[in-house]
């Protein structure tokens, strides 16, 4: 993981971007493990980014502290949203989260006094004065924490809770499991991660704007990565982010026009041909050989 440090600034920067998407992909997957799809990653990413930028700018908070604030703000938003919409799960939840990004964008755009309005807000300087190595370490740390949380979710009682919710809500409820509590809990944790990632993004590039920060790609790319790597595991999204992140960077240099098509094709083909993803496929193979 320290490899990019010796590979030059460009690779370091690309690795930082890939780590950003890795965290988003992993946090998205953690929620999927409860059976809920969120199309609102960009929304929480944006809330985190804006909260961090505005607190750093107006309250002169330390950048690292402002990143924590970004995570908390996203978590608070998720709690409010979760408490209202997670009673109805499935399609309704998915579509509400799809709307979420747009709602936040509209709000941010229409409160120019607070947020800088449509033009966004510029921070005086990037975090660590733009030092790419330190930024890389920061993102790596966030990614490791995300991985740790994901693994914790796979090894503790949370695993039993979310797996039963995903497979059979009725059994879960009848076995004494408070579905709503767990759904809201996981939603809040994953949103906090997305908020933190967004906040560090804002600190890294020293600016936020409604269009750039609430970009639908922050939702889209993580989903494609999870699908490719395989859902419902820690390894899957990591593989997906590494593979798709680097392939996309390579393709961009080879096929400058329309390489986003790859993401759509990946999502479609994986769902049709390999719903368990790369990691799942490997696991399956492994089990068969045993």
């Amino acid at each position: 993981m320290a490899f990019p440090l010796y590979a030059g600034v460009y690779l370091q920067h690309t690795a930082t971007i890939i780590l950003t998407y890795l965290c988003l992909a992993l946090s998205w997957d953690m929620l999927v493990r409860t059976g809920q799809i969120s199309f609102g990653v960009a929304g929480f990413f944006g809330i985190g980014a804006y909260s961090a930028a505005l607190t750093a700018l107006n309250l002169k908070l330390d950048p690292l502290l402002s990143i924590a604030v970004g995570g908390l703000a996203a978590m608070a938003a998720a709690l409010v949203l979760g408490l209202t919409t997670l009673q109805l799960r499935g399609m309704y939840f998915a579509i509400t989260t799809l709307a979420l990004t747009e709602i936040f964008r509209v709000i941010v755009r229409n409160l120019p006094g607070l947020t800088g309005g449509p033009e966004g807000t510029v921070l005086p300087s990037a975090i660590f004065d733009g030092d790419p190595t330190k930024t890389y370490w920061l993102l790596l740390a966030i990614a490791l924490v995300t991985i740790a949380i994901s693994e914790a979710f796979q090894r503790t009682r949370v695993y039993f809770a979310i797996t039963s919710i995903r497979h059979d809500e009725m059994v879960a409820r009848s076995s004494g499991l408070d579905i709503f509590k767990y759904a809201v809990f996981v939603f809040a944790v994953t949103s906090a991660i997305q908020g933190i990632v967004g906040a560090s993004f804002a600190q890294q590039y020293a600016f936020v704007s409604p269009e750039g920060t609430f970009d639908i790609d922050f939702t889209l790319l993580p989903i494609a990565m999870c699908l490719l790597g395989g859902m419902h595991s820690t390894l899957g999204p990591i593989i997906g982010a590494l593979v798709l992140g680097s392939v996309a960077e390579y393709l961009k240099l080879q096929l400058p026009y329309g390489h986003l098509l790859v993401y759509g094709a990946v999502i479609t083909l994986v769902i049709l041909l390999m719903p368990q993803g790369v990691a799942g496929k490997m696991k399956e193979q492994f089990v068969r050989e045993q």
């Binding site: 497979h167 059994v171 004494g176």
Partner: protein, 256 residues
Amino acid sequence: MRSIEHQDPTMTNQMAGEMAVLEIDSLVRRFGGLAALRQVSFAVNAHEVLGIIGPNGAGKTTLINVIGGIYPPTSGRILFQGRDITELPAHLRCRLGIARTFQIVRPVQGLNLLQNIMVGSLFGRGASLKEARSQSLGICQFMGLSRVDRAIAKLTVLEIKKMEIARALSTQPRILLLDEVMAGLNVDETREMIDLVRQVCAQGVTVCIIEHVMSVIRELTERVIVLDHGEKIAQGPYEEVSRDPRVIGAYLGEEE
């Protein structure tokens, strides 16, 4: 969760005064225009095995679902140990001590045999992972389930049925609602299951059992409730009820 119960003085008084664990009071459940339960009332006494029988579509499973809290009744009341639980969500009912199995088995596919059983212990009883594991292993032994790390796909029908009961037992229930656990089992397996239910009962768990196989009802239950078209048409010992013309009529109606 149990501790909360004891803090409620009215409840303990009632518990002392009455033998009923569960009281059902004029329960009505409609689906759209269709009434699945009409004014059903009965009580389940502590330590008894109560049979619930009736032709297909009589509302037996709906009754279990309403008692378990899967959906609320349209009207009527449910009392558990004297406490009104009509408004309580399913998971809290489970934690109070109402456990159930499902007519069509519902193992959680992502979990293996032991893990499935642990779910009940973890959430129904609030056990830690370690406690849940050892407790569930104990229940497995009691139920005669071996090789507990097998995936669901590798289990036999009997094993899955046992797993469902084990999962319900791992919540340490006061009352266990069994929904056609004998369906699809052969004679020997049915025998084994009947013994198991007896042992469960012997441990002080009250049992409510829905069953189509009348020999099982005859052997296990002290008392039966007969439902037809959502209405309670008879109750009493099986031998008595089976001679009731209304009951015979209901079952004959099904034959047509």
